[in-house]
Symmetry: C2
Subunit: 554 residues, 2 copies
């Protein structure tokens, strides 16, 4: 790699201007110091106060011995305290470790120890979990209590309650510059198998992610845009991939931010109404729950913009949301990618209630600036962008985890060939819209084609007698793999193997799915194995049903 | 400065992803390959062709020996060729030198030689200039002709005509990564005195400038925004501070771009109408010319968004433009700053025809993301943000020139105290809006106050007998400096010294200007000295009129 131009030297006092998270506060503080931050029903303050509280939190952490390179864990619902941690911890040069509160207690203990955290900020709601793993946490001994009720006693083992600690702290008023590649945040992914894997992001990566996210979300002509007069409320937890990075984007834009605490549908709907929330993001399930909640019927949700990620946006949910006046659209990313990769924003010319627009809304979307997104075959050759040909989604961008923490083998596999392997397969249409079809491990490779197990499941699930279905690939000497549907029938309902095969064959004749997807046989089972977080455990299913496999390569 | 976290190593194949100009093409090519680039009346092609032509230009330059670190000069009106050079030259690792065609020929020779250019792409229109300085350009011997007429002979000394060269070239299809701090562009500032000074910008700086510009322009709720369905046409030349960086922003956004060639008011108005241009930027003088052109009366300019920079936006021009339905607003930056620093975008709550909104539109505006903008006194202490207190505008941002090329003294002065000194004085109001009042060298420091020479000139110019006025500060042993108005009267008109003094005194009594601004005397002169580019030459005026000055410190 050639060196930077050396023909001239910069002025001695010209600062390097490393990209640091503290700089995200510059513009909002200069322009909108009076803008609001709201947490639930009881906390409301302005950006000036946010800045002051960040300084106080940094002072508190410093007084507890936190220094450059240390890891500070947070275990909280979505709150202003979490937002303050998003800034104060990295601005000290320390690493913010976001605890996935949905993990089993033993996994939480594993991730805390693996991250090297010695300090934790924990909501009282999680004391039972912490107490249960206390003897597994010999090094996590500095504990700060996050408390939502007044005048509660401080539990044993905690050095202070958060607000009392902030009041007593000597605020940090000057945060020095340091290397922009300093680690700022980390958290753990949850696969269906194995131990959680740590991903990590630097100041440079988060600043670039914030800028590109603001650029992508701001520049849409009308549909799917975030602007400075919006009101933001996350409904993807702040422990999960920085709540998609949107708290940083919202701060950089200087917009009003609302943090809802624990996600309770009635409370979320009440906050949307009271605080005039206009922009959120969530998984399909949460939106489905919200729209089905009794108080949703009386709520005016028109003008609310919602990005759907974590799973594909179902067409029916999109229609239901559009009927309520919600501007709903897909987005795509993952823990390893910070996460923003694509957004399903639509040109004005395609907008309206058209079927094409609806289809585009349910896709993963178009790449945000600086994302180099490809779909490739197994030899890393690009497949056609025709909306049909599928391949693995691989990416480069300036904000992807550079590996898994202390896990060189998984890191090397993640980055094999110089692109980050998402493990997803998908297609790209002529307009550049990505559709994610399946996890690559769940794709069935048969007769030279890749068949989406999810697409097959969607077809079979339509039969009224089918209660649950999972499709796996089983080893086949002639075809490589063949699809095997595992079907749980509704109690008292009947459906035969031949009927299910014909269901798929009919859809193949109408061009909806490849003829290679038509199963040769169907297994009826009593139950389908799931993981601890409720996902279908296809690895387990393959080990149970694919007796021809020499070994599971996973 | 502490090192980056060293606790873990990245995956060996994970790319560093340096920020490089080639990445600005990723998203538009993925999403809008069919989008148009238009040059004048005869050239129109899509982004796919743009990419192909960039590869061809890089191939042509490579065949002529251009390599990493070389400097390639361009001398053209605004054209698709210039846009192609914006990408192809830096993508080779070479430096694009943008020749200021308004300089005197000897200054053009000086800047070409000082930049180290050996290759030049020159429009036929500038052959007389080049011929006149040919013997001063011993090293600039590889010349490519930019030709707008068909079938013209190739002049002596030129290796090829541009289009013929592109057709014959072996295109570069792969542009390798290199250090993001590699110099990408350079050009020369034109002060009122001394030799032009070279400023330079790296790939990293231009990518960050583009992202931040897109984020700032995109995120406004309604007024003053640029979005993906806009049509862009520059009316600030491409040789001048990258046409404000907007060709890079427009490309990154994948929007239609129109390049107008030489600025001829009738042609500009015709292009706006024919190509449905919705976003431009220019200096006040150009817009004034356009609105005064005969064909402007018949033009529908409503919905046209125009950023005004280079000089403050006069209130009367803003009103005139608003009456035509133009969304007009100020912006601020300079050659040394890439240039974007602020944009006068207005919140929806302040919008409408209100007087406050009009005032805000004429200001320099609010900082774009990541810009650390201060107004400071002579000891670098911040002055109040009350819309009144003035100080020098100093900045940090990740895209400022790190110095002047081969000029360590000027570089050190530019960055004294670790902030870039703009040389402008201004104030900031409580909403964060900057107003630039004057050049600091033209400010009159009297009785402990800073008086804007421009503000005094505006007051005196209102007298009907005054044809021209320039106000300078002259040395005063008691007050430091005192203002001296130099007045040229209209032929046949009369106005006395006392009348002019009373004009200012009245405005001081009404609170518009400090009482220290009331001049003690007035000089009536026959003419006011100007520079070669038509600016009032205050340095010359001070040397002629300030006989008390021991030496001019400039």
């Amino acid at each position: 790699m050639p060196l930077a131009t050396a023909a001239d030297t910069p002025a001695p006092e010209a600062p390097a201007y490393p990209l640091l998270i503290k700089q995200l506060l510059l513009t909002p503080l200069a322009v909108r110091p009076e803008q609001e931050i709201v947490y639930g029903d009881n906390v409301r303050f302005d950006y000036c106060t946010l800045q002051a509280r960040i300084g106080q939190l940094a002072g508190l952490l410093t007084s507890l011995g936190v220094k450059h390179g240390d890891t500070v864990a947070v275990m909280d619902w979505d709150s202003n305290r979490y937002l303050e941690s998003y800034f104060a911890v990295p601005m000290l040069g320390a690493v913010l470790m976001m605890v996935n509160i949905r993990l089993a207690p033993e996994q939480i203990a594993y991730t805390l120890n693996h991250s090297g955290a010695r300090v934790i900020l924990a909501n009282r709601a999680f004391l039972p979990v912490l107490d249960g793993i206390d003897d597994q946490l010999p090094d996590v001994r500095t504990r700060i209590l996050l408390e939502d009720e007044a005048d509660q006693p401080l539990p044993a083992g905690f050095v202070t309650e958060y607000e009392a600690g902030l009041r007593a702290a000597t605020p940090v008023s000057h945060f020095p510059d340091f290397d922009e590649n300093t680690r700022a945040t980390m958290f753990y992914t949850t696969g269906t198998t194995g131990l959680p894997k740590g991903v990590y992001f630097s100041h440079r990566q988060l600043v670039l992610h914030s800028l590109a996210g603001m650029a992508a979300l701001g520049s849409a002509a009308s549909q799917g845009r975030l602007h400075r007069d919006d009101v933001y409320m996350p409904i993807t937890p702040m422990f999960h991939v920085h709540a998609w990075g949107l708290p940083y984007v919202a701060t950089l834009m200087g917009i009003k931010q609302v943090y809802p605490g624990r996600y309770l549908p009635g409370q979320l709907l009440a906050l949307i109404a009271r605080e005039k929330v206009t922009f959120s993001h969530c998984v399909p399930t949460i939106l489905h729950m919200l729209l089905g909640h009794p108080s949703a019927a009386d709520s005016d949700l028109s003008g609310w913009k919602v990005v759907i990620g974590g799973a594909a946006l179902p067409r029916a949910l999109a229609q239901q949301a559009l009927a309520r006046g919600i501007d709903i659209f897909g987005g795509y990313g993952m823990s390893e990618t910070c996460p923003l990769l694509t957004l399903a924003q639509i040109d004005a010319t395609t907008l309206g209630g058209s079927d094409e627009a609806l289809s585009l809304r349910t896709k993963a979307g178009i790449p945000v600036p600086l994302v180099d997104l490809r779909i490739v075959d197994e030899d890393m050759h690009d497949v056609a962008h025709d909306g049909v040909a599928t391949g693995e989604v691989v990416v480069r961008a300036p904000w992807l985890t550079q590996g898994y923490l202390h896990n060189p083998d998984a890191s090397a596999a993640l980055w094999a060939g110089g692109y980050l392997h998402t493990g997803d397969i998908g297609n790209i249409d002529a307009g550049g819209y990505l559709r994610v079809a399946d996890r690559i491990k769940d794709v069935i490779k048969t007769g030279g084609e890749w068949i989406s197990s999810l697409a097959l499941e969607d077809i079979i699930a339509l039969h009224p007698a089918v209660n649950e279905v999972a499709v796996i690939g089983i080893t086949d000497t002639k075809w490589g793999e063949r699809p095997l549907p595992l079907v749980v029938r509704h109690a008292g309902s009947e459906v035969t193997e031949a009927e299910i095969i014909e269901l798929v064959a009919a859809r193949s004749r109408s061009g909806d799915i490849s003829r290679f997807a038509i199963p040769d046989r169907v297994s009826f089972v009593d139950a389908i194995e799931r993981t601890s977080v409720g996902k279908i455990n296809k690895k387990k299913l393959r080990s149970l049903h694919d007796l021809g496999a020499a070994a599971d390569a996973e």
